[in-house]
């Protein structure tokens, strides 16, 4: 925010920053923003990209990125998985848990 104040303001003590405003619209120009805008890259469902039709519960290394270290299934908002594939993924993870390929919760 301190950067914004360093913008040249020659009008001095007369009326504060508001004074320069009325003459502004003539010159036009977009409003200057102090903050940089962030453009978050849109997450794409990894399974859709690879065109996966069936998520195999036996491929642990495929499921692992979607599971937290403690064994929780990561939410869609973190991984960007689409609703359809998240549903299949949930089933696959639960099957893998059943046969001790993935943990329900890590011990200790």
């Amino acid at each position: 925010m301190s950067e914004q104040q360093s913008v040249p303001r020659p009008s001095g003590p007369s009326g504060g920053p508001r004074e320069g405003r009325p003459s502004g619209p003539g010159g036009g120009g977009p409003p200057r923003r102090g903050k940089r805008q962030y453009f978050r890259k849109k997450k794409v469902c990894r399974f859709c990209v690879e065109k996966v039709d069936f998520i195999d519960y036996k491929k642990v290394e495929m499921l692992q990125p979607f599971v937290q270290e403690r064994g929780k299934i990561l939410p869609r908002r973190m991984t960007g998985t689409c609703s359809k594939h998240q549903r299949w993924l949930g089933v696959a993870v639960k099957r893998a848990r059943n046969i001790a390929l993935l943990p329900f919760a890590t011990e200790l």
Binding site: V49, F54, I99, A100, L101
Partner: protein, 143 residues
């Protein structure tokens, strides 16, 4: 009844000798054929670490079977045998034919769409092959 596809995974004690596991698989195959089923594939994954302790063991010998069956009684019998067996500490059967059917439907649907698409963009053939080859080399991790 229609033909059903199952996955059967069981885990043996890590101390079980190899020949005993082969014997268990043999009896399972025999029971399957007696009940009008067929074991399609047997894979011994070997001893691997389990995600949690089962029967006070941290490791287990995984065996995977894929089988066809026309009647559910076969699964009941197979699971009973696995339960009785001392070496087996955990087993799971999953019925997969419905999911495979769904998968085939999706593949067919996509192929149908792919076939239809070039006709739509026929006047401008440049747009057709453009996005095509990009996702091709993605299928590397198959193991």
């Amino acid at each position: 009844m229609e033909d059903r596809l199952y996955d059967l995974i069981f885990i043996c004690m890590p101390t079980t000798p190899e020949e005993e596991i082969t014997k268990i698989v043999g009896t399972l195959e025999q029971t399957a054929s007696e009940h009008g089923g067929k074991v399609e594939k047997v894979e011994k994954w070997g001893t691997r670490k389990m995600a949690y302790r089962v029967a006070k063991q941290r490791e287990g010998f995984y065996v995977y079977l894929a089988l066809h069956s026309k009647q559910g009684d076969l699964i009941k019998e197979l699971e009973r045998r696995l339960k009785v067996s001392d070496a087996v500490i955990k087993y799971m059967t999953v019925r997969l034919d419905e999911e495979i059917k769904r998968q085939q439907k999706l593949v067919a649907h996509r192929e149908h769409r792919a076939r239809r698409r070039p006709r739509k963009t026929a006047p401008s053939p440049v747009a057709g092959p453009g996005p095509g080859p990009a996702p091709a080399p993605e299928q590397a991790p198959a193991s």
